[in-house]
Protein backbone atom coordinates (compact mmCIF):
# COMPACT_ATOMS: atom_id res chain seq x y z
CA UNK A 1 0.00 0.00 0.00
CA UNK A 2 2.63 2.52 1.07
CA UNK A 3 4.92 1.49 -1.78
CA UNK A 4 2.08 1.83 -4.26
CA UNK A 5 1.23 5.35 -3.05
CA UNK A 6 4.87 6.43 -3.17
CA UNK A 7 5.33 4.97 -6.67
CA UNK A 8 2.27 6.90 -7.80
CA UNK A 9 3.67 10.08 -6.21
CA UNK A 10 6.99 9.63 -8.00
CA UNK A 11 5.23 9.11 -11.35
CA UNK A 12 3.16 12.27 -10.82
CA UNK A 13 6.30 14.29 -9.99
CA UNK A 14 8.08 12.90 -13.06
CA UNK A 15 5.06 13.78 -15.21
CA UNK A 16 5.10 17.30 -13.78
CA UNK A 17 8.80 17.59 -14.65
CA UNK A 18 8.09 16.46 -18.22
CA UNK A 19 5.29 19.04 -18.60
CA UNK A 20 7.66 21.76 -17.37
CA UNK A 21 10.28 20.56 -19.88
CA UNK A 22 7.64 20.82 -22.63
CA UNK A 23 7.05 24.48 -21.67
CA UNK A 24 10.82 24.98 -21.53
CA UNK A 25 11.19 23.81 -25.13
CA UNK A 26 8.06 25.42 -26.57
CA UNK A 27 7.73 28.58 -24.51
CA UNK A 28 7.88 31.74 -26.58
CA UNK A 29 10.70 33.97 -25.44
CA UNK A 30 13.30 33.69 -22.72
CA UNK A 31 10.96 34.81 -19.93
CA UNK A 32 8.58 31.85 -20.30
CA UNK A 33 11.57 29.54 -20.28
CA UNK A 34 12.81 31.17 -17.10
CA UNK A 35 9.40 30.50 -15.49
CA UNK A 36 9.60 26.88 -16.63
CA UNK A 37 13.09 26.57 -15.10
CA UNK A 38 11.84 28.04 -11.83
CA UNK A 39 8.99 25.52 -11.68
CA UNK A 40 11.31 22.68 -12.73
CA UNK A 41 13.71 23.44 -9.90
CA UNK A 42 10.78 23.53 -7.45
CA UNK A 43 9.70 20.09 -8.70
CA UNK A 44 13.21 18.64 -8.46
CA UNK A 45 13.62 19.73 -4.80
CA UNK A 46 10.94 17.40 -3.34
CA UNK A 47 12.13 14.67 -5.72
CA UNK A 48 15.59 14.97 -4.18
CA UNK A 49 14.05 14.84 -0.70
CA UNK A 50 12.05 11.76 -1.70
CA UNK A 51 15.18 10.08 -3.02
CA UNK A 52 16.85 10.88 0.31
CA UNK A 53 14.03 8.99 2.06
CA UNK A 54 14.27 6.10 -0.41
CA UNK A 55 18.00 5.64 0.16
CA UNK A 56 17.83 6.55 3.86
CA UNK A 57 20.73 9.02 3.85
CA UNK A 58 20.05 12.39 5.43
CA UNK A 59 22.91 14.15 3.60
CA UNK A 60 20.84 14.04 0.40
CA UNK A 61 18.52 16.62 1.98
CA UNK A 62 21.43 19.07 2.05
CA UNK A 63 21.69 18.77 -1.73
CA UNK A 64 18.03 19.78 -2.04
CA UNK A 65 18.59 22.74 0.27
CA UNK A 66 21.74 23.93 -1.55
CA UNK A 67 19.97 23.50 -4.87
CA UNK A 68 17.02 25.56 -3.68
CA UNK A 69 19.21 28.42 -2.45
CA UNK A 70 21.28 28.58 -5.62
CA UNK A 71 18.39 28.28 -8.06
CA UNK A 72 16.74 31.20 -6.23
CA UNK A 73 19.98 33.14 -6.76
CA UNK A 74 20.06 32.19 -10.44
CA UNK A 75 16.43 33.11 -11.13
CA UNK A 76 16.66 36.46 -9.35
CA UNK A 77 19.86 37.35 -11.19
CA UNK A 78 18.16 36.42 -14.49
CA UNK A 79 15.24 38.69 -13.59
CA UNK A 80 17.59 41.50 -12.62
CA UNK A 81 19.44 41.14 -15.91
CA UNK A 82 16.22 41.20 -17.97
CA UNK A 83 14.94 44.17 -15.95
CA UNK A 84 17.86 46.38 -16.92
CA UNK A 85 17.08 45.83 -20.58
CA UNK A 86 18.77 43.64 -23.14
Amino acid sequence: MVDLLLDLALSLAAGAALLAVYRLLMGPGAASRAVAMDVLSLIIMPMMAGYALYSGRMIYLDVALVYGILSFLGVTSLARYADKGV
Binding site: V21, L24, L25, A30, M37, L40, L73, L78, Y81
Partner: protein, 88 residues
Protein backbone atom coordinates in the same frame (compact mmCIF):
# COMPACT_ATOMS: atom_id res chain seq x y z
CA UNK B 1 20.50 -8.28 -16.57
CA UNK B 2 19.32 -6.12 -19.42
CA UNK B 3 20.06 -2.45 -19.88
CA UNK B 4 16.77 -1.21 -18.41
CA UNK B 5 17.23 -2.81 -15.01
CA UNK B 6 20.86 -1.74 -15.03
CA UNK B 7 19.96 1.85 -15.72
CA UNK B 8 16.30 2.22 -15.00
CA UNK B 9 13.63 4.27 -16.67
CA UNK B 10 13.92 7.43 -14.60
CA UNK B 11 17.66 7.69 -15.21
CA UNK B 12 17.04 7.35 -18.93
CA UNK B 13 14.44 10.13 -18.76
CA UNK B 14 16.90 12.39 -16.95
CA UNK B 15 19.53 11.65 -19.61
CA UNK B 16 17.02 12.57 -22.33
CA UNK B 17 16.27 15.87 -20.57
CA UNK B 18 20.01 16.59 -20.30
CA UNK B 19 20.51 15.93 -24.02
CA UNK B 20 17.55 18.04 -25.12
CA UNK B 21 18.47 20.95 -22.84
CA UNK B 22 22.11 20.84 -23.94
CA UNK B 23 21.06 20.90 -27.60
CA UNK B 24 18.79 23.84 -26.82
CA UNK B 25 21.63 25.69 -25.10
CA UNK B 26 23.91 25.20 -28.11
CA UNK B 27 21.43 25.81 -30.91
CA UNK B 28 19.30 28.64 -29.54
CA UNK B 29 19.77 32.12 -31.04
CA UNK B 30 18.53 34.04 -28.00
CA UNK B 31 21.42 34.18 -25.53
CA UNK B 32 19.19 34.63 -22.47
CA UNK B 33 17.27 31.46 -23.38
CA UNK B 34 20.57 29.66 -23.86
CA UNK B 35 21.58 30.64 -20.32
CA UNK B 36 18.29 29.21 -19.02
CA UNK B 37 18.91 25.97 -20.92
CA UNK B 38 22.40 25.73 -19.40
CA UNK B 39 20.82 26.11 -15.97
CA UNK B 40 18.44 23.24 -16.70
CA UNK B 41 21.34 21.05 -17.84
CA UNK B 42 23.08 21.54 -14.51
CA UNK B 43 19.80 20.89 -12.64
CA UNK B 44 19.30 17.53 -14.34
CA UNK B 45 22.98 16.59 -14.02
CA UNK B 46 22.81 17.37 -10.31
CA UNK B 47 19.82 15.08 -9.83
CA UNK B 48 21.53 12.36 -11.87
CA UNK B 49 24.62 12.57 -9.64
CA UNK B 50 22.33 12.30 -6.60
CA UNK B 51 20.78 9.13 -8.02
CA UNK B 52 24.25 7.73 -8.67
CA UNK B 53 24.83 8.21 -4.89
CA UNK B 54 27.40 10.99 -5.14
CA UNK B 55 25.84 13.71 -2.94
CA UNK B 56 29.01 15.79 -2.67
CA UNK B 57 29.42 15.95 -6.45
CA UNK B 58 25.71 16.76 -6.79
CA UNK B 59 26.05 19.59 -4.27
CA UNK B 60 29.06 21.03 -6.09
CA UNK B 61 27.29 20.73 -9.44
CA UNK B 62 24.26 22.54 -8.00
CA UNK B 63 26.41 25.32 -6.54
CA UNK B 64 28.59 25.82 -9.61
CA UNK B 65 26.07 25.08 -12.34
CA UNK B 66 22.89 26.66 -11.06
CA UNK B 67 24.33 29.59 -9.14
CA UNK B 68 27.72 30.81 -10.21
CA UNK B 69 27.72 29.81 -13.89
CA UNK B 70 24.36 31.52 -14.50
CA UNK B 71 25.61 34.78 -12.98
CA UNK B 72 28.92 34.63 -14.88
CA UNK B 73 27.13 33.86 -18.16
CA UNK B 74 24.78 36.80 -17.63
CA UNK B 75 27.71 39.17 -17.00
CA UNK B 76 29.46 37.81 -20.10
CA UNK B 77 26.34 38.22 -22.26
CA UNK B 78 25.94 41.82 -21.16
CA UNK B 79 29.59 42.66 -21.89
CA UNK B 80 29.54 41.09 -25.35
CA UNK B 81 26.30 42.88 -26.24
CA UNK B 82 27.86 46.21 -25.28
CA UNK B 83 30.78 45.49 -27.63
CA UNK B 84 28.42 44.37 -30.42
CA UNK B 85 26.39 47.53 -30.13
CA UNK B 86 29.46 49.74 -30.38
CA UNK B 87 30.98 47.95 -33.40
CA UNK B 88 28.20 46.56 -35.57
Amino acid sequence: MDIVTLFNLEDLLICAVILVAALGAVLHRNLLAAVVFAGVVSLAVSYLFLRLSAPDVAMTEAAIGAGITTVIFLIAVRRTEEVEREEP
